[in-house]
Symmetry: C2
Subunit: 578 residues, 2 copies
């Protein structure tokens, strides 16, 4: 595929590129005669027979710290680890369509290079030595295309690595595969005309979320120990919640985005940020610390010059961590969470209290105003950016994530966000400045509101972190994901936010709520969507919201919550079996 | 003066407000029968007889560290110190027209409160206990007007303090007077229809610079030990250079701007920043550290959560400081500096080399592209912001800083910046995003260029700091200041930058250069402007450019340069007198 093919019609170009992707898969990794028992394909890698016992042992090791240790002491070679995860990634691809760029030889060559260095010198190259890392289809790698969901971008071979990839190489990582995104990036699902749609491995009739949905499905299937996605309104957190992963949405410009492609490039009012997605709680700190320790401000002029602070990680500004006081936002007043989300919050509250922490309630503050301001900023160009990229190839702008054969309709005729923001149009620079003024005032108001909780916590400090749903429901059928009300708050306020898995939907426990007084028509539609059968077994995650540029503290508090939840489950299991 | 007066014509409103300012001066502080020997009024405070010996002793103490020590050990009371500086400020006002809001009783009450606390508790309130601090006319104080150079803003009484003022109170400071600005703030001089024009105390026919020109004149006359100004294109550095002061232009959002009024509010592409202006090298660290130690991110949502780093102040990322390698930008290729600036750079190079540091040359990199990008962003609203504020009262937009009785013409028919940028018009949000993309690429290019100096320094590091003129000339006659080419670079790249005084113009030494091949018509006009007689005795300062968010390191390196210069002067003086 070369740039000269741009004379072809967009459907032909897309089909050719998709075929080229298929051709890039080693034939011995193709799944044949697959008889699936259900649309939950999580167990296929174990059962399909493609992975050896050793490859299963490697890929079932989700703890990034453990993988890195086995790599650094040469118990595992990077070639073996990379090949094992690559095979599993290719299995995941055939089941969920999560990948874009596949480059097996290149990744294995890199892994071999690292193995050789370690053998020769006895030293690791860096803190991520030998670790395969998957990348959302925005992180350019020299010599590979970066298609990012646009037909017009087929054949765009990168002349250099983006800064993140440069630093991953310096850290000893093995960037080994790239993952799917929606056209425009501005959807909470994952579908485009080139690579198609990514499904949720827990139930392929459901979305994996988006826009980092390829990572969501891939990492959930253990096809990658750690992926890197991005987030401008929930794009790390929605797929992480839907797929049962950990993630961290850092603050603007803490990690290096320079050189990665993006939608709405130059829109700096609410910056997209990058972060890790992983099955491993240890993965959050390892990734973030590795990148920050590499001094990204030397390569990306926008990155905040702030070293990794072990002092902040030890919660110096949170009383050393004992006890903490969390606040739970049970409901943001825009869309009421589904029953499994409520149960997850109850479980988390119980676990934290059992661990000696305090938990109080969080009443939402100007939530809808904040949301509206952000969404208005996102369309301040009147859609010019999307139109321009689509017009380059003639492909149409995608208006819905539902496809014809889904057999269902949208839950609302017009998403509530469109109702709120109104028709988008070319705003002037002056009008954008007016939105900035409003945003700044909203941030100040929310900050003051948070600070004022000092009178309610009993710790002498304001609330240490807010716990809330990331999305009001577990993963929904394709095309029905409309809620970014919980996530966008954090992008607007620039709050550091993690997502952590809590439980999975259990219809025995998660009975429908009685109807409430609906906040708006979308809230009503979301309420009606709840159907225990549909969601059964889906992961349920929550988000932890910390302050701006509190990456260290939010990671540590997420670890504390995770430990408390695991400890509580252990006790409950012991009690159950007695 | 109340808001109801807005029915009056703008000239009447302005005149009434100016009269009210005059009426706010205690009558015993009025200078009578003043016979000035020259337009250099720097010696008037000493000679006018208004200040007692003790008041002269206090106000001639320029070292902020010394003043704070005498306040904290009760050798001086805050009331005495505040009154002494206030009297000198009022003298400065009568000579240079540097003030806006005058509130003697309120400031003395505050000083008394601090004295009482110290007497009662034996403890200082904070690190700035008792110190009078003057504020540019943007920093709102509850109950006072904030006019900021617009007639329409007469009668706008602030309902609360801006965050900076809140923190100054917490630190124990005494905000005691506010200082003049130009209409729109976007001039390198200081003139508006309400308070008139601020002159340079070294020669009142010359401008004090701007937009923090009120602070420049006031602090130069020792009417304030430390003032706070702002900078979006040079507004701290131009008056500091013209008036012989130290200043620091911090990076975006390191110090709290929230609640201060501003021009082009909501324009966040190139943020205005606040910083100290002072006669005292110790003042820079004391002020910046005091504010950062107060955790401004708890009150201003935009402030970077980064503690004061003693490690960075000790130059941990600059080899511990011995030896450093500086680069001198002798000429930016847009406007060639006047002879005294060149001599200041030669002096600084010599002093640094004598102190054991290395000094190499800096070739400008894409300087004009960067400048053009910034200036285009500043007018992206097509002038809407200025027009709107002027229309509120009917006052005309000021088009030139020259007044009718100056007796001279502009040096160029149309400033080079206007020629570069073209007619301003309402740009769309999408067009602004395009400018952001360009800016980001320029920042990356400049960063890479700087990093690449690692091969030339001999220290194993890139250049530690760049030394250059802040402005191509010493202070010029009113209305003739056109150069912000040296300063705007730092706002665009967000480089932390200080200004420090080096020498003063000496016609015996600073002979005109031979004409060079002119870079553009403004460069030619600036060349022709040089006239030793006009500039004689004016201060000459330079700027030190460091990296983004390197406040600590830039302060320390400025101290090192200052010490080297003083040491060199001492040696030269000793040599001269032998």
């Amino acid at each position: 595929m070369t740039e000269s093919d741009s004379s072809l019609d967009w459907k032909t170009r897309a089909a050719q590129r998709k075929q080229a992707q298929l051709d890039s898969i080693p034939s011995e990794w193709i799944l044949h005669d697959l008889r699936l028992e259900s649309e939950n394909v999580m167990d296929v890698p174990e059962k399909c027979g493609l992975l050896s016992a050793r490859e299963l042992e490697i890929t079932n090791t989700t703890d990034v710290e453990v993988i890195l240790k086995k790599l650094s002491n040469s118990e595992w070679s990077s070639v073996d680890v990379t090949r094992a995860f690559y095979k599993r990634a290719i299995i995941a691809q055939q089941l969920t369509n999560c990948l874009t760029e596949i480059f097996v030889e290149r990744a294995l060559d890199r892994a071999k290079e690292l193995d050789d260095i370690l053998r020769r010198t006895g030293k690791v190259v860096g803190p991520l030595h030998g670790l395969p890392v998957s990348l959302k289809d925005q992180f350019t790698m020299k010599g590979l295309e970066t298609i990012m969901g646009y037909v017009a971008w087929i054949g765009r071979y990168a002349k250099s690595d983006c800064v993140l990839v440069e630093m991953l190489y310096d850290c000893g990582a093995v960037p080994f595969v790239r993952t799917n995104v929606p056209q425009t990036l501005m959807w909470g699902e994952t579908y485009n005309h080139v690579f198609g749609r990514t499904s949720n491995p827990y139930n392929r009739r459901l979305t994996a979320g988006g826009s980092s949905g390829g990572e969501g499905a891939l990492v959930a299937m253990k096809g990658s120990p750690l992926g890197v996605g991005t987030d401008i309104g929930g794009s790390l957190r929605i797929p992480s919640a839907f797929c049962g992963l950990y993630t961290l949405r850092p603050s603007y410009e803490r990690l290096p985005y320079y050189g990665a492609t993006n939608a709405l490039e130059g829109q700096e009012s609410i910056s997209s940020v990058l972060g890790p997605m992983t099955n491993s709680i240890t993965g959050l700190k390892i990734f973030v610390k590795a990148i920050i320790d590499s001094q990204p401000w030397k390569r990306d002029p926008l990155v905040v010059r702030k070293e990794w602070s072990e002092k902040e990680y030890q919660l110096a500004f949170h009383g050393g961590g004992s006890p903490l006081c969390f606040a739970i936002m049970w409901d943001n007043g825009v869309v009421k969470p589904h029953p499994p989300l409520r149960r997850a919050m109850v479980m988390t509250k119980g676990a934290l209290e059992a661990a000696g922490h305090r938990v109080i309630d969080w009443e939402p503050h100007r939530h809808l105003e904040i949301y509206k301001n952000s969404e208005t900023i996102f369309v301040a160009d009147g859609g010019e950016d999307y139109r321009t990229e689509c017009e380059r190839s003639g492909e149409p702008l995608i208006k819905s994530m539902i496809s014809e054969d889904d057999g269902h309709e949208p839950i609302v005729e017009k998403p509530f966000v469109n109702h709120l923001v109104g028709e988008s149009y070319h705003r002037s620079a002056y009008q954008l400045w007016e939105l900035h003024k409003e945003k700044r005032q909203l941030r100040k108001s929310h900050l003051d509101y948070w600070e004022a909780t000092v009178h309610r916590t009993g710790t002498g400090r304001p609330v240490d972190g807010i716990i809330s749903p990331a999305v009001a429901y577990p993963a929904v059928p394709h095309g029905l994901n409309t809620d970014s009300f919980y996530t966008t708050l954090c992008n607007a306020m620039d709050y550091t936010t993690s997502v952590f898995p809590v439980t999975s939907v259990d219809t025995e426990l998660d009975h429908p709520h009685d109807p409430h007084e609906f906040y708006n028509y979308e809230d009503e539609a979301v309420y009606k969507l709840y159907d225990s059968g549909l969601f059964q077994g889906c992961p349920v995650g929550l988000q932890l919201i910390g302050r701006t540029q509190e990456e260290e503290a939010v990671i540590r508090m997420t670890e504390i919550i995770d430990t408390a939840l695991k400890e509580n489950k252990r006790i409950n299991t012991e009690t159950d079996t007695k």
